[in-house]
């Protein structure tokens, strides 16, 4: 079953102007059926206006065992956060 219907990752854009967001995964024989299944599984309650499907094997993921060397060095570099500026009220939401 899994060989005939490989895994696909589903990304959905909730509204125009927003980015596609990962929603989950599903099994399908090819990209056309994967899109159809994504529509039926992940947009039943009006979740989106656009769907992407990507073969799960096409995703290269970071190694959890290297999480420390990848992500911890940034923890003490607070000067990278743009929190030291006064934002004028007129700018509104940023």
């Amino acid at each position: 079953m899994t060989e005939a219907t490989p895994l696909w990752e589903v990304f959905i854009r909730p509204r125009n102007g927003l980015a596609h967001k990962h929603m989950g995964s599903l099994h399908a024989a090819d990209e056309v059926l994967a899109l159809s299944a994504a529509r039926d599984v992940y947009t039943r309650r009006g979740e989106g206006v656009s769907i992407w499907v990507v073969p799960s094997v096409a995703i290269t993921a970071s190694d959890p065992d290297r999480a420390a060397e990848n992500f911890e060095p940034t923890a003490d570099k607070i000067y990278r956060h743009p929190t030291f500026y006064d934002i004028p009220d007129d700018v509104g939401h940023m």
């Binding site: 099994h27 399908a28 059926l33 159809s36 299944a37 529509r39 039926d40 599984v41 039943r44």
Partner: protein
């Protein structure tokens, strides 16, 4: 009463097909289709509800949409024989869905010009739903027809079993002709032939010649299978009259 009878025919088509599709719930070959099938079933049941409610209002004898859906006897149902056919395997279910939706998509598109405001409203919603059903069922017919030896044999078997029920879709009942708010069913022939022809060509399926077309649903002359379907579908309203949730 032509309007009432014509709405009932159309509503019965959708309710009976919707119930058939609902029988797959929890039994589909994969989780993805287990969600897709009830989605399609709910589309057509939603259409049936609106049509029954409209019919009940026109009849104005105090019957509700539930009374019309659940409390009639077998001979009073006016649905096409195609929609009551048992689900068979997944190939037969997808083919039946393709046959029906390839007819209803141009039908609802034509009904967008109906003089009846409610029919126009249903048509606006249902034409989009049917376009998706054609695509979903069509993709499966193509893949199963041009698939493995097993899937090809099953899809060819489904065509041999179901094609003889398709001619009934194009027959206009006296009520439908007289009501003045529904499109002429015979006019859908070219669109239907084109859709089925394109999908069958890709699926490597032959469009068969039908020697003995099966009809009778519009006169209430059904197959044995409808009685069994109604027994299950009507059970709750018969055992607990007026039950709601």
């Amino acid at each position: 009463m032509a309007m009432f009878a014509a709405l009932l025919e159309l509503a019965d088509d959708h309710l009976i097909l919707g119930h058939r599709i609902s029988e797959w719930c929890g039994h589909a070959p994969m989780l993805e289709e287990d969600l897709a099938l009830p989605n399609m079933g709910l589309d057509v049941i939603g259409t049936a509800r609106t049509l029954y409610a409209h019919a009940a209002e026109i009849e104005s004898k105090g019957r509700s949409e539930d009374d019309l859906a659940f409390l009639r006897v077998e001979r009073d149902y006016r649905n096409l024989l195609l929609v009551e056919r048992p689900n068979g395997d997944f190939a037969a279910t997808m083919l039946r869905q393709l046959y029906f939706s390839a007819f209803m998509e141009p039908f609802w598109n034509a009904a967008l010009a109906s003089p009846d405001v409610l029919i126009r409203g249903v048509a606006g919603k249902a034409s989009k739903e049917m376009a998706y059903h054609v695509r979903h069922a069509g993709e499966w017919v193509i893949r199963l027809g041009d698939g493995t030896d097993e899937s090809t044999a099953r899809m060819q078997g489904a065509v041999a079993e179901l094609h003889r029920f398709t001619g009934e879709m194009f027959l206009q009942s006296d009520a439908a002709a007289a009501c003045g708010v529904l499109p002429d069913r015979a006019a859908m022939r070219d669109d239907w032939d084109r859709t089925i022809g394109m999908i069958f060509a890709e699926a490597l399926l032959e469009v068969p010649d039908v020697a003995f077309p099966q009809t009778g649903g519009r006169q209430g002359v059904h197959g044995e299978c409808l009685g069994h379907l109604l027994a299950e579908m009507q059970y709750l309203q018969r055992a607990y009259p007026g039950a709601e949730w």
